[in-house]
Symmetry: C2
Subunit: 431 residues, 2 copies
């Protein structure tokens, strides 16, 4: 019998605002940060559970406090029953009615639950000697359905329907696992497209992206229409007709403004328009989607829970669904999100970048391919080439594809030297 | 010139779970709590800004940490310019892109902005010697429109339309202020209806509510249908046909379940069904509203920002809109919410109860009557007779109406003895 000894948190920040990496119309100066969690046990096997919530700087301490508020639920608890029924473990955390009031099921407290759940999955994977994507992809459909909290979903997806989706994908799992190990999972790159870069840097990075084998790039837009047109023209000239170039507005626009702006960019054939307006505005996204078709609307990195994804799908508001590994309540809620997307036939192209988001979310996309949607067609994972060196199992992106990780774990463990070096010291950073 | 000296926070909790006051289908054992903020200045005039975020216990410390994270925006700042343009002050807090990432515009961080904004309004009111409702109700339509952040609203409400609404109400302001001072604002009571109460206590409290002059009561429902039918029957017998009895499910149901449950309660003629499902589920509320008509759907105490209210109104999902004083980003965002309701012709019946919510939200309802919607018809404020003794200006509810407060301030200041006595000491409370 193993007991959980401690939930240790750390406030880790990288001064990325100094280089304008990651600058967009809404987030001009992010300092990529991690509210970091390490779960230790008394097993003596060297296995720890690691996970984090990604933030962009100020407030990372608030996120850490939220994770700390959950320590009482796990410290001293017997580990094996928690891992054996991760569905029940997830529900127990979601059902703390006092903590639930702080959302409910959204924002800092919800993401904190995600960190705890993800850290437990990390332990479960390391104990099984499997990477998360494969551990999930080898669970039975019944086990997977048992992980999902169907509350508020059943008018769009019932447990029975979820089971049908998973059973339909079951026969092809072994073959798709082979294909994944052989060919990896497609990546697209946002590296060329940050707003803070010069036109020359944009053109150079577009050329490099194509040379590196990426099948799509993405440009940040939304600060100035003339700039966006000029930058899209440069990217289109460098990449050539037919090469997919997505556009990301980072919630910058009103609904009417989004429609007008996207129509002005439409001659450059955007692969999708991402986050055109408030992530809460389901009806607004639906209105934009109708107005800018055939340009596709994408969103999801700030969709705060499964209920928001359900509605975006019900309203035909999105043609591309972008899950994030740490915005929702962890692996369990993201399985719900993948099942919803499969039910509605919408491809999932996960959000990544920041610090550690590529490492984390690749597992979910690969699980989706092997055991849920059953295809890589139209699917790809965002990729940004920043800060991977800080992770114990950094992404391996070559030839425009994510290679499937084989190391045991959920992929979110940061190297201890990096954690030590980038632990935030308030006096040193704040002016 | 006055400078802000400090933002001092406190973690204040009342052990209400011991009495089952406040028990409902989703929140069985709340400990009513306040993440409390006191803003001090160097003016030497004895004026301080007081406000809080209401929580129900665990996690109140996280909410305090979120308020603390905003201190850097105000400490040492010159006070007068902040108060002179509260619209700009509000936008500056909302536009901290790093903190925004933690929501965006939802949950712990958004409510923290609300506490800061509300505390500044408290100072502004005290300096002007006015209660909040009257300070607002005497601002010009142009000044009021300048308080609102119209971002993400303009496809439902433009600044020009807001101005038209306020101008149309302007001629009757003086007369309605007189009517308000004379007759107060209608209250309804939730006191009889908590799930933890016996049938005898329910019947007795129903009789007392009518004797006290309340024009509506509300019953908590959603835990067990047979119990709800029995309790509704008792209440209906005591109150008589035609007396308004609302029902509150506190987010307990799936969409289909809500429809079936409300239909089973329909013979008892519920005045409205409140929070039938997830507060995020705009489309679900709309589906329920269509299915259970003519029973009206009400929600809003967990609607986390103006974008959610916009959609609930656009989708015809609610016939009663329930703002909360501390769930959104404070007075400014609630003015947006009141204007949205006026635009769509939906009555606002604020959520209250907890600790201090009655004291706070009455100002917004009274302002709505005098200067926005221009009527008390179909409007009432929730009332629960708990914990008012802890406030410097406790609500004055007599004869079923809130008497308009005349003391200067925003109404959220808790007595210093109460704050001292109920400051949370972790060791003493946690098992």
């Amino acid at each position: 019998m193993t007991r959980i000894v401690a939930l240790e948190t750390a406030d880790i920040r990288f001064p990325t605002s100094q280089s304008l990496d990651g600058s967009d119309a809404m987030n001009p100066d992010p300092d990529y940060s991690a509210a970091y969690l390490r779960i230790t046990t008394d097993a003596g096997d060297g296995i720890e559970g690691h996970a984090f919530v990604f933030t962009i700087g100020r407030g990372n301490d608030v996120q850490v406090a939220a994770i700390d508020a959950l320590a009482g639920h796990l410290t001293g608890r017997e580990l094996e029953p928690l891992l054996a029924d991760m569905g029940a473990t997830n529900r127990a955390l979601m059902d703390d009615s006092q903590l639930r009031w702080l959302g409910p099921e959204k924002g800092v407290m919800h993401m904190a639950i995600g960190a705890v759940i993800n850290a437990l999955w990390d332990i479960k994977c390391k104990r099984a000697g499997e990477p998360l994507w494969r551990l999930l992809a080898r669970m039975t459909p019944e086990e997977l359905v048992g992980l999902v909290d169907f509350r508020y979903l059943t008018n769009a997806l019932t447990p029975g329907e979820a089971l049908d989706i998973l059973r339909a994908a079951e026969p092809g799992r072994a073959e798709r696992e082979r294909l994944l190990l052989e060919g990896g999972f497609p990546a697209y790159t946002t590296t060329p497209g940050w707003l803070g870069y010069s036109d020359e840097k944009l053109a150079r990075l577009c050329r490099e992206a194509i040379a590196d084998g990426f099948g799509q790039i993405k440009l940040k837009v939304g600060a100035d229409l003339d700039d966006d047109i000029r930058r899209f023209r440069i990217a289109r000239e460098v990449c050539g007709d037919g090469f997919p170039i997505a556009a990301d507005a980072n919630q910058r626009w009103e609904v009417d403004e989004a429609i007008a702006w996207v129509r002005a960019l439409a001659p450059f054939d955007p692969a999708w328009i991402e986050e055109p307006t408030s992530p809460d505005d389901v009806l607004g996204h639906a209105e934009i989607a109708r107005a800018v078709a055939p340009v596709r609307v994408a969103t999801g990195e700030h969709a705060h829970n499964r209920v928001m994804f359900k509605q975006l799908l019900q309203a035909d508001a999105i043609a591309v669904m972008q899950i994030d590994a740490v915005r929702v309540a962890g692996v369990n809620e993201n399985i719900a999100n993948l099942l919803l997307a499969a039910k509605f036939g919408v491809p999932v192209c996960p959000h990544a970048g920041g610090v550690g988001l590529c490492e984390a979310v690749q597992h979910l996309a690969m699980f989706d391919f092997v055991a849920v949607c059953g295809t890589r067609e139209g699917r790809m994972i965002e990729y940004v080439d920043h800060l991977h060196e800080h992770f114990v199992v950094p992404t391996d992106v070559r030839g425009g594809v994510y290679r499937a990780p084989l190391a045991p774990g959920a992929g979110m463990e940061m190297r201890s030297e990096s954690r030590g070096r980038h632990t935030w010291k308030p006096e040193a950073v704040d002016a």
